[in-house]
């Protein structure tokens, strides 16, 4: 609206000035804080790798310095052909203690991201963590809870002939008398079948992506 005696500034001019000032304020803040936020994200990523490779426990309150130190000392980052990130965990003697691969895929409500760590032989699961997902609280969200994810520990991703079988999330509970299920399946989450199927799919895809590398590891052991 045009300027008048009661309102000295036209609406357009005023709005434009306010927008400019606020825009400056917001972008200045964002730019100033961007490095800190990037650091926070990176620390969090490192923390997830450390937790998945059992170098850190989830309940442990570790400060940034501790996480950086542990990561620098024990984790070797590698990049395989095809820009595939890989994380090797080393013990105090420098021997590989875990092989950690990233997992990513689509769940029921949104993307699921996590890490899968295998032991040094590359055949058994050390730990699995899902650090990002949008699954239903109380149902599918259980995938990021220890009480569900800890059953993955010790499960086999290969059969007797060293063929990749991956791990299946059952609908219902694993039959303890079935030998195949006992080594290659985990209990499902009741009420979260779709999430469970998504996890099965995501783990399989993840392992298939790294299959050639893992086959090399299995042959050596």
């Amino acid at each position: 609206m045009a300027p008048s005696k009661r309102e000295p500034l036209g609406s357009f001019a005023f709005a434009a000035m306010v927008a400019a000032v606020l825009g400056l304020l917001v972008s200045a803040t964002a730019n100033l804080l961007a490095p800190r936020i990037a650091t926070n994200k990176e620390i969090e990523r490192k923390k997830h790798v450390l937790i998945t490779t059992k170098l850190l426990e989830p309940e442990a309150r570790a400060g940034n310095a501790t996480i950086e130190r542990l990561y620098a000392k024990h984790i070797t980052e590698k990049e395989l052909d095809g820009a595939l990130p890989l994380f090797l965990a080393l013990d105090d003697e420098g021997r590989t203690s875990a092989i950690c691969i990233p997992l990513a895929g689509i769940g029921l409500w949104g993307p699921i991201r996590g890490y899968l760590a295998l032991d040094a032989g590359g055949r058994r699961v050390l730990r699995i963590t899902f650090y990002e997902h949008n699954e239903t609280p109380g149902l599918g969200a259980a995938i990021s809870e220890q009480r569900w994810s800890r059953q993955w520990g010790g499960k086999s991703i290969v059969d007797q002939e060293n063929q990749l079988t991956s791990i299946v999330v059952m609908k219902g509970k694993v039959d303890p008398l079935d030998a195949w299920q006992a080594s290659h399946a985990v209990d499902g989450i009741s009420g979260a079948t779709i999430t469970g199927n998504a996890v099965t799919r995501i783990v399989r895809t993840g392992l298939e992506t790294y299959q050639s590398y893992l086959e090399g590891i299995w042959q050596k052991n």
């Binding site: 609206m1 309102e7 005023f14 927008a19 606020l22 917001v26």
Partner: protein, 207 residues
Amino acid sequence: MAKELAKVALPPLWKRNPITVQILGVCSALAVTVELRPALVMGMAVVFVMGGTNLAVSLLRHWIPRRIRILIMLAVVASMVIVVDQVLRAFMWEVSKQLSIFVGLIITNCIVLGRAEGFALSNPPGRSLLDGAASGFGYAWILVLVGAWRELLGSGRIGGKEIVPIWLYDAGYVNNGIMVLAPGAFFLLGVLVWVQRSLSGYREGEP
């Protein structure tokens, strides 16, 4: 002078509390109060946003053209909210993830625009800042109370510290799972509204 300031600062804390008396801003009061810490940080975020918005709007009040005043107020609140979100992500990463979208949703909180429109547009900056901050604190202490209760009853902790002793768990005590979910917050909030209104003598329909 002090009496006048008290007239601005005190009502939002008790007699005209935004949540229990005006029933505004309830959505986030349910969502972020699972634990005490995020509830406290959210409360402080709202104090900052409301104080800052009221101050800015009050400083500009003689210049804002009538027709675009809501737009301008929204722009100010949105900017404040973005700044708070960035600061939280930079300095309180863990809590910012717990609060996730709810810091951004402060802009939808009726209290913020309500005070900007109802007070800051027609009052000097000092008073407006006080009014905004006081309304924020009125909101914040309710959140903190609900958060503390929900964390205590739902997880046996307050502020992350274990409060319920092990021997009580061994004797058969179980954490109340519903307190961790929204319905638990509803129940607590309902009781809190009832208790606070009884104590303050509020009557429906009175100004």
